[in-house]
């Protein structure tokens, strides 16, 4: 095996309100940036698919003028392809139009080519061709609860998708509506919000209607998921049948981010904000909090982060990679992006003064892809979505 085939590199994709930036690094400390790609279009969703030894970056792109679309790059951003007929398009008869792609979720290694998407209006989609064409999930679209789902401040969307290793259990979260679960691979859906508060509703414990901001699965414990709610941090150990608070020990229970370790049991990260009415870091001090015991205790991680920060971190503006130790990444609405190569113990600023960061995704790339990552820094950026 040659040197190039084993050389590892890291890719960090940063979606902002006004375009996409790509950063590459050999060590997760020094980063080289390319961009903006898609200048003047927002990038609310990114999926980096590293299955089958290839790297495909998929992005949800949305222009205020020209609407939403999905594009992908197989050369780390040197060129982008947009399927001519559109990757996500509401079928005839739905009388709906795509507003924004909120989530692009490559499925498990055992299901190459399968990519899920969560969108606004509230909908879930599935692709079997690597994200080039998606089909609307009819079970959710035709759900009898649809008329009662609402819109959060950012719009009404399915924003979290978690598929278990078998492919049968699928949990999604929507704002507002809460957590819905499928036990048949997405054919049918039931709400699973018992224990999650909806304090803003007349009945604070409804079957559905919660504003769950983000969910993530524990990779090592079957049936365990974590949720960052619109006030409230929760864990379930039984596939959403019951949710219990794990907010004790955090400085605030509001926030948008929920990240989990790709392999290790009980390890999750949140980035608290003070409150619904005060969406700034508690005490204006930007910190990440990590649990290593499934939420019993939390550790504040602040090394390398600013003491004074008044910008929020949005639900998808944070990510982990799959390296050992795991890298943790996030960006603020003030346009600063931070990376940690040691699971959050220390952070370095990758870049500052970008537009509002909407989405961050990171991945390890190997071999020739790593070479392409270096090359793209020199290449001209083409933007299929004019701004």
């Amino acid at each position: 095996m040659g040197l190039m085939a084993t050389a590892e590199s890291y890719v960090l994709a940063i979606g902002t309100k006004k375009g996409l930036w790509l950063a590459t690094s050999p060590d997760r400390k020094e980063w080289s940036l390319s961009g903006p790609h898609f200048l003047m279009s927002e990038i609310p969703s990114i999926g980096i698919d590293t299955r089958d030894g290839k790297t495909r970056i998929m992005v949800g792109v949305r222009s205020e003028h020209w609407g939403p679309t999905v594009a992908h790059s197989d050369d780390l951003g040197a060129t982008w392809t947009e399927p001519e007929q559109g990757a996500i398009k509401f079928p005839d008869g739905t009388d709906a139009a795509l507003e924004r792609v909120w989530q692009i979720y490559p499925d498990a290694d055992s299901r190459p080519g399968v990519v899920w998407a969560g969108c606004e209006p509230i909908s879930v989609w599935k692709s079997t061709d690597g994200g080039e064409h998606f089909e609307l999930n009819r079970g959710l679209w035709d759900h009898p609860h649809r008329s009662e789902w609402g819109a959060g401040y950012g719009g009404a969307a399915a924003h979290s998708i978690v598929v278990d290793p078998s492919g049968e259990k699928v949990h999604i979260a929507m704002s507002t509506g809460g957590v819905y679960r499928s036990l048949d691979g997405g054919a049918s859906w039931e709400p699973r919000n018992k224990g999650i508060s909806a304090y803003f509703m007349p009945d604070p414990n409804p079957e559905f209607g919660q504003c769950v901001h983000k969910i993530a699965a524990d990779a090592a414990v079957e049936g365990r998921l974590y949720a960052q709610n619109h006030h409230g941090v929760y864990r379930t150990d039984d596939n959403g049948e019951n949710w219990d608070s794990i907010a004790e020990g955090l400085p605030a229970d509001f926030g948008f981010v929920m990240l989990t370790h790709p392999r290790r049991e009980g390890t999750a990260w949140v980035i608290p904000l003070k409150a619904d009415g005060e969406r700034i870091p508690p005490g204006s001090k930007l910190s990440v909090h990590r649990t290593s015991d499934a939420g019993k205790t939390w550790k504040e991680l602040h090394t390398g982060l600013p003491d004074h920060e008044y910008n929020a971190v949005l639900r998808d503006a944070a990510s982990v990679d799959t390296a050992e130790p795991v890298g943790v990444y996030f960006g603020t609405r003030g346009g600063s992006v931070y990376a940690s190569a040691d699971e959050g113990e220390t952070f370095n600023e990758v870049v500052s003064h970008l537009p509002d960061v909407l989405c961050v995704r990171a991945a390890v790339v190997v071999g020739s892809d790593a070479g392409a990552a270096a090359a793209v820094e020199q290449s001209a950026v083409s933007a299929p979505v004019p701004g």
């Binding site: 205020e64 003028h65 609407g67 947009e82 559109g86 509401f90 709906a96 139009a97 795509l98 004019p386």
Partner: protein, 95 residues
Amino acid sequence: MADFTVLLPGVLQPLVGGQSYLTASADGAVTVRQLLDSVTGDYPVLARRLRDETGALRRFVNIYVNGDEVRRLNGLDTEVAAGQEVLIVQSVAGG
């Protein structure tokens, strides 16, 4: 047969090989909808930039027929006569 011309803003011209306008032919007057269907038939990406999948004109896309914005006329049902200029412009929006 009459010829119709649709003028494109510079930002959309890369989607049609750099052309600044597209043309169509028809017998007599046509609606803006028919004209868009015709000129974007070979350019599905351009079509999606202008209208969503329900066929509605995107909110910040403006189409002018002889200087009048079609939302103040009859929307996409506005009739275009031969010789009238059809202009597509993005509205001033965003920050």
